[in-house]
Symmetry: C2
Subunit: 404 residues, 2 copies
């Protein structure tokens, strides 16, 4: 991956020129909290999406998949509190109705509107509440609205999650901004992950689609809170070209690719940090695998291991669990060539335990961010990262509560 | 699977004729509890094994794999408290030394002795403690020793786990007895699963190996407490022919196959029931998949889902999580053809939620055994079962404790 210079800028989905956003309380959540948001660009956007691999797919997922990639997108509508999943033909119709409502209020075609939902599954979307709320929501869209938008998509998230950067391409500077919501919903249950990214770069839809899918594969697809894949997961990117700068040529594509990785990787870290019940974020970096797929397998297996995650909660420098997860990951390595490092301290090397002070390492583990580094020993310089959090009593508490 | 008549008989690994066993306190566990056991048959046994798929393999696993299948096995030595994993060449030598010690005491070849270990990884086996304990252990081997043997292999297990049955073959009755230990070790951590089964049937080693591997694949390989696969998992079976009855012809093979399934399935249920922190056992039966692999995928994904397991702990009739796990399992099904039944109550059918009383179903979930039934809708009459337990605060507590 190319190393790039970039500047962190303030804001989220409206950091890039030409995007406005807003959120409101439409009455979908029983709590009465913010639950509906819109992102809008007057200029038509090139757009791409990455979606859940679950065979059970929410109506919004199948609807967006039919439209993307596209060069004619204007808006994204997102609701929290109801997933509109397992709702059959009526669910599909509710997506159409929602789109028409937004299209009409914005005076854009209904099929230029993407939709996302997160919340309880198996209940019909209260579409009339959305229809009632959309006109006022549209009239209040603003350059300052990204903050409220980011709040309106939250479920069990305890903090809003936004990030924005500026990078220089050959023709000038462009901004990329985004927000996301993380894993877990207090009321029902899917660990739905949603990400929305906007950029004022101009980019060919084929390139955008390719770079987006690759960056998602390197980041969001390696993010795990509890190993469950929701019916509603999606990450959308919209590029409106409002900066007047085009992603042009191999060098620009490389920079843009690296910028998307930076953007998505930080959003993933924010989700991991705010995982259900998390007391700390855990980042697993795997180096020198046979290939990227192997690095990814090992990183995900470690990040997914309940035993590793419980050890992290307990500040337990338990390298055996890490090595064990690596062993069943399917990644190829020689047991005497692998090295395991925890918080910068080598714990396993040359086929046996390394010498370290367990109490000192335990103290290092008592930290908001813990890094696990694995060297698979193939000297390929290939790397993959997986993000997760520790596993605490509160995870069980949040997910054992009776939902009906 | 053929339905067979069988009788449950008392005992465990010594229920079948010609087997003796015993356990003792060799000082391997810091607690001073029982930690070393032997199973012995004076008659040479046909034997087969099934082993962890983890790339990191304990010394006992690689040693047994080299010997099996075999027709010359006399004994199994098992220790708890130390896994002898990640211990390199010295670990291999310690296996050789242990075998020689048992072989010498029993006057049988060292390579007729199988070995199994469970406990902390990365520490050398205190082999001299084993050498010191073996002579007295061997001299106390008895037909009544299965109970103490079953206790000597326990780690975080709260109860010993034994089962024995008698079935009629064409030439007469044979007995099959076994014991196992379940998931999780309080002191270090691998969720090591060990199973030892003995029978007085006479059976060809090729047939035994094939039927054993198939039965393990249908039972132990679908057992999940926390999704982690240990470095030391193994299930061994020894057949000494002491009943004088041979498994002969297709009909006998079918009966023996079904008997092994019954045996292993019950042992798995016992492990699930005693899973770390478990308050209830959860049995997932998947019917009518495209093929066995698909039924198994769906059953395992549901049994492995932390969200499903937390819902079971909370008596939450949360069918969305079950359907979601089925969706990402990789099993093929049409979302409107799948049916989900919880404690005998249909909760999802015809592509939508079924009508049921949530409080009544929640009351049914408050039970020591909960059954989840899935019909994938392919009308193949193929079935797979997966065993697990719920996920409680205590699981996190047990696995977060600092181990050094």
């Amino acid at each position: 991956m190319k190393t790039i210079d970039f500047t962190i800028v303030s804001g989220g989905v409206t950091a890039a020129a030409g995007f406005v956003a807003q959120g409101c309380k439409a009455g979908i959540k029983a709590s009465g909290n913010l639950d509906l948001g819109i992102i809008y660009s007057e200029k038509e956007c090139t757009a791409a999406g990455a979606f859940t691999t679950n065979r059970i797919r929410a109506a919004c997922v199948t609807a967006n998949e039919k439209l993307l990639p596209s060069e004619k997108i204007h808006a994204v509508l997102c609701n929290a509190g109801n997933a509109n999943a397992c709702t059959g033909a009526r669910g599909d119709q509710d997506v159409v109705t929602s789109r028409e409502s937004v299209g009409s209020a914005l005076s854009v075609p209904a099929d230029s509107v993407l939709v996302a939902s997160t919340g309880i599954i198996g209940e019909f979307l209260p579409v009339e509440k959305i229809q009632n709320a959309v006109p006022a929501l549209v009239s209040s869209l603003s350059r300052e609205g990204s903050d409220v938008f980011a709040k309106s998509i939250m479920t069990t998230d305890t903090v809003q999650k936004e990030y924005a950067i500026e990078v220089a391409l050959s023709g000038g500077k462009v901004k990329i901004g985004g927000c996301c919501k993380g894993a877990g919903m207090i009321h029902p249950n899917m660990a739905t992950m949603l990400g929305f990214v906007t950029t004022d770069a101009s980019i060919d839809s084929h390139d955008l689609n390719r770079l987006h899918k690759r960056a998602v594969d390197m980041t969001f697809n390696n993010l795990t809170i509890d190993g469950d894949t929701s019916t509603n997961d999606m990450v959308l990117i919209l590029a409106n070209g409002a900066s007047g700068v085009t992603v042009s040529g191999e060098s620009d594509l490389d920079i843009f690719k690296a910028a998307l990785f930076e953007m998505y990787n930080v959003l993933c870290a924010k989700i991991a940090e705010d995982g259900e019940g998390a007391t700390k974020r855990v980042e697993v970096n795997v180096y020198n695998g046979k290939d990227f797929a192997d690095c990814k397998k090992a990183a995900k297996a470690i990040a997914n291991s309940n035993l590793v995650k419980c050890a992290m909660f307990g500040n337990d420098p338990n390298w055996g669990r890490i090595l064990c997860a690596c062993g069943y990951s399917g990644a190829e390595f020689a047991p005497d060539a692998i090295e395991v490092t925890l918080c910068g301290v080598p714990v396993y090397m040359n086929g046996g335990p390394a010498k370290f002070s367990a109490p000192e390492l335990s103290a290092k583990l008592d930290n908001p961010v813990v890094k696990v580094d694995i060297d698979l020993g193939h000297k390929t310089e290939i790397h993959a990262v997986a993000h997760t959090c520790d596993f605490s009593y509160d995870y069980v508490k949040i997910n054992a509560e009776y939902h009906t």
